[in-house]
Amino acid sequence: MNYQYPDERGHFGKYGGRYVAETLMPALLELEQAYMEASQDPAFQEEFKYYLKHYVGRPSPLYFAERLTKELGGAKIYLKREDLNHTGAHKVNNTVGQILLARRMGKKKVIAETGAGQHGVATATVAALFGMECEVFMGKEDIRRQSLNVFRMKLLGAKVHEVTSGTATLKDAMNDALRHWVTHVRDTFYVIGTVAGPHPYPLLVRDFQTVIGIEAKQQLQEAEGRLPDVAIACIGGGSNAMGLFYPFIEDLSVKLLGVEAAGFGVETGKHAASISAGSPGVLHGNKTYLLQDDDGQIQHAHSISAGLDYPGVGPEHAHLQDIERAEYVSITDTEALEAFQKLTHIEGIIPALESAHAIAQVMKLAPTLSSDKIILVNLSGRGDKDIHTVADALDVKL
């Protein structure tokens, strides 16, 4: 298998592309040019590696979850500990890469959209590190759910815009970030948080996140002397999953399993499972699977996890689904909550609700596999930010 995507126009098969207003088009072409040069420049790569090592704290450990493995009684389970990164999730890998690119392009201001607030915090963090102005767009509903992250961003010096349009969640935050960008495109760099949006974002975010899969592959080689049988990650936009999957794409023996949020259940219509239950369409600069009605109006997504509460998915996942290189399943709010508690109890690791979706899938899959099989799962973030949501769901007053 020779996997060469995206093509030079930013397409992953039928998906991806650059569906933006003319005002933004020159900025995207400039970004593409700058990124192509940076990715060929050893000095840029060295700088990126330097900050990943000394600032983010990479490599993140690959941890053999022995008690969870024993409890489930099947395949061996390895956790890629992105929760141990500075700022508590995989998001910072990407924001370090993008801020270095922004600096290289001479931009002084950055903007970002955020759902759970992890990407907003990760952007505000690197903006503080490099002394750049930072504005973050966040839905009113998510501000309520993630007040801790909102305060963190403010402490880091970022301005947080409350987005009240539409459903007041991640998709609307992205609309408003795009509106702001179109107005300030000449001096502002848009730090997109996932492998979505117009080309070259799905490409460059993937590239910045592949450090996850590259490390995990090498660490598992050292621990077990072989490849995993299954690699599992949760999918909102899909950046932690692309980061994990990409280095394994040509290793066909490795099954790639993406876990979407089924919310109250896919059959209820209240979910965020764009691949499992959506259809192709165009939103936020790219063509991909979307939750939409027959007229192409985007529908509300629902998930207990603010970071998965998005009615679309990165275009490369749409392509991997179509060519059947990856498989996509979904996990309900209830299943994710159970997994959240299970991992906390049994391994002393509080996962982000996003990552708990991946753990829930592990809990379903591991018992069906023999003990000589290996599951590699991306523990994409830590769950401190979700404590209030979980307490609410469990009817506990804090």
Partner: protein
Amino acid sequence: MSRIETTFAVLKQHRETALIPFITAGDPDLGVTAELIQTLAEAGADLIELGVPFSDPMADGPTIQFASERALAAGTTLGGILQLVTDVRKKTQIPLILMGYYNPVFCYGPERFARDAAAAGVDALLLVDLPPEEIDEISVAMRASGIDLITLLAPTTPSERMKRLAATAEGYLYYVSMTGVTGAQKISPKDIQPAVEKLKGLADVPVAVGFGITTAEDARAVGAFADGVVVGSALVKIIEENGQSEELLPKVAKFIIELKHGLTAPTS
């Protein structure tokens, strides 16, 4: 000659600038939109841009976002808008341009849309988020049905790109007067004049200017050098404030007459 070409040719003879109002179809409902089209045409509009509502209007400011929300709440669909065009075509030959975002057209099916839109009497399509880089996927179907694809140019468009896009433009060129969303700021006519003059030199089609034109004074100032002026948010605001009231049509007519007056006076 297409309806758009004929319209601009006649205006040129009379040394007039085209007045191109924008309204969101289905705001407050399609019945009122039909009446509004009639009123706009009778009051002096030369072409009409009909907004196709979308749930995520990323290039629009609050005024047109809310109009989109009202239209969708009233149950407006692309199919319903094509039926509306079919009906109003029996009464008016004013050029009608559907303007909006790509996804509703993509989901309708570009080939099916081209066929149905042409049959209904739509003259052109302007998709804000379908740039030249991606236009190939619908251009063959639109061309086969005689639907013009309107090209947008922005202040950020580099010179070379402007030249290339102007050379292949259909219908008219839409110059976005500022970097920003619709309805956000006021236009500064003298700042955009050089770009518009340059575009007119590059293009075989007329050049219309939109974004930030809110008063008859703005329209007159821009009309002095542009071939057409687009007025959107200011008009949509009148519709927002007067909804289903009996005042709506007279107020809209009055505004259009004022705007058109500035474009017919012998200033050019």
